[in-house]
């Protein structure tokens, strides 16, 4: 496995199918923590993580505040909470104001991961309907991390990947299948 410390993924609600496919096709030996921030309905707490767990190679959990990040674990930002990555390797949650009308905000998760993991962070932006996440991915790039943007041509709603491409140059622009292949080769 590479010397990355975590994979951090952002996408809007429409990225569910992409994330599901990625998680179902990842090797079970993939042991980096995967931290996913997906836009979701605020008032529906259950269903999303359960749906991901039907096909995911590993269990997906919605972390509690101050929960330690473990290798090989997959974390999904809980509904109506922002999710931050802390310097001590734990997750913190917050009910602060929405960002880009979103709570959880992808920018917040990715930017905090950039500060914590710096050049050991691998950030991915998937299909999405607003600009949340673009700045966070740029922060990962600015700290020396590796960045991947889903090819807008393969995105159901390309606003989010296009917004990222407008403000930064990612290391790779890939289709969802190519992203999964890339991760499996780490």
């Amino acid at each position: 496995m590479s010397d990355y410390k975590a994979v951090v993924i952002g996408g809007s609600a429409g990225s569910f199918a992409v994330v599901l496919k990625m998680l179902s096709n990842l090797k079970v030996t993939f042991d980096l923590p995967i931290i996913i921030c997906m836009h979701r309905l605020k008032h529906i707490r259950s269903g999303l993580v359960e749906s991901l767990n039907v096909k995911s190679c590993k269990e997906v959990i919605e972390p509690f505040d101050k929960q330690k990040i473990e290798r090989g674990q997959i974390y999904l930002a809980p509904s109506n909470y922002h999710m931050f990555i802390e310097f001590d390797g734990s997750i913190s949650l917050s009910t602060e104001d929405m960002n880009h009308q979103s709570r959880p905000s992808i920018d917040y998760t990715l930017s905090s991961a950039a500060s914590t993991y710096r050049d050991k962070c691998l950030g991915i932006i998937l299909t999405g309907a607003n600009k949340d996440g673009a700045k966070g991915l740029k922060d990962i790039a600015d700290k020396g991390g590796f960045t991947i943007v889903q090819d807008p041509k393969t995105a159901d709603v390309p606003t989010m990947p296009k917004a990222a491409l407008e403000i930064m140059k990612p290391n790779l622009i890939l289709s969802p299948d190519q992203i999964t292949d890339f991760l499996n080769k780490l």
């Binding site: 505040d65 101050k66 809980p78 109506n80 913190s92 949650l93 602060e96």
Partner: protein, 264 residues
């Protein structure tokens, strides 16, 4: 403004001393983020302005007001309120309820409507670090920005009453307000809850406040709150908060909704 770790520690120490709230033991990344948010709101451009700010009563209260993370909506997590109704059903008495750190009107107004709609009676004590929160809550104005969400959450409480029966338009029809009289059994205290003497409450609502603390303060706060519960009293945390304190004094009553009960 970029703040070094030493500058943050210095500001936290000054704020703790001046405001009697333990900002030194707030989650450090939250504290940095929130302090910059406060400085932006209050147009503080230099750290050298902090001393003057802390010595000005009104400005320091404004700082406390902005440091508090405002509640997001009324009846947040409807499943919690449904569970709370079941837990309180057996407590056939005038309840004593405490909200240790109120951040805006939402949690209190939700509680008051919930109690009335379910036929519970209670004396409610509310603490908050900021006097401005109390002043705003006493206006009984409900921000319209979350009106649809408030109503949608209320519908999910499965109560046979209408949300609209608890609100009324202001005289000039420009605002929505909580119905007159709803605050009659509420006592407000402008003091950080950790500086209070222990009480004897049947229910303590402390949802999503511990998120802003580091682990040692979180543990001290939970110990303090549990110490203020009456026998078989209930402690409600946010649904993604765990009481990290290891003790046999309390246990989960409804883990999914983060409701804990005192055991002795």
């Amino acid at each position: 403004m970029v703040l070094t770790i030493n500058e943050l520690k210095s500001v936290a120490a000054k704020m703790t001393e001046a405001l009697k709230v333990d900002f030194v033991n707030f989650n450090s990344s939250f504290f940095r983020r929130r302090l910059l948010y406060c400085f932006d709101k209050m147009t503080v451009r230099k750290l050298s302005e902090v001393d003057a700010l802390l010595s000005d009563k009104q400005k320091s209260d404004t700082l406390l007001y902005h440091m508090l993370v405002a509640g997001t909506e009324m009846f947040r997590d409807p499943g919690f309120w449904r569970s709370l109704k079941r837990q309180l059903a057996s407590k056939n008495k005038q309840l004593r309820i405490w909200i240790p750190e109120l951040t805006n009107c939402y949690e209190l107004y939700s509680l008051l409507i919930f109690l009335d709609a379910n036929g519970f009676t209670a004396d409610v004590t509310v603490n908050t670090s900021s006097q401005r929160v109390i002043d705003e809550v006493k206006t009984m104005v409900i921000p319209t920005v979350t009106d649809e969400l408030n109503k949608a959450n209320f519908e999910r409480l499965e109560i046979n009453k209408s949300y609209d029966s608890y609100v009324e338009s202001s005289e000039d029809k420009t605002q929505i307000k909580l119905r007159q009289g709803m605050l009659n059994n509420v006592v407000f205290k402008n003091r950080w809850f950790m500086n209070e003497l222990p009480g004897k409450y049947d229910l303590i609502l402390m949802r999503n406040i511990l998120l802003t603390y580091n682990k040692p303060l979180h543990e001290r706060a939970v110990a303090s709150l549990v110490g203020s519960l009456d026998s078989k009293g209930l402690l409600a945390l946010g649904i993604k908060e765990l009481p990290l304190l290891k003790t046999t004094m309390f246990s989960a009553i409804d883990a999914e909704e983060s409701i804990y009960g005192r055991m002795n």
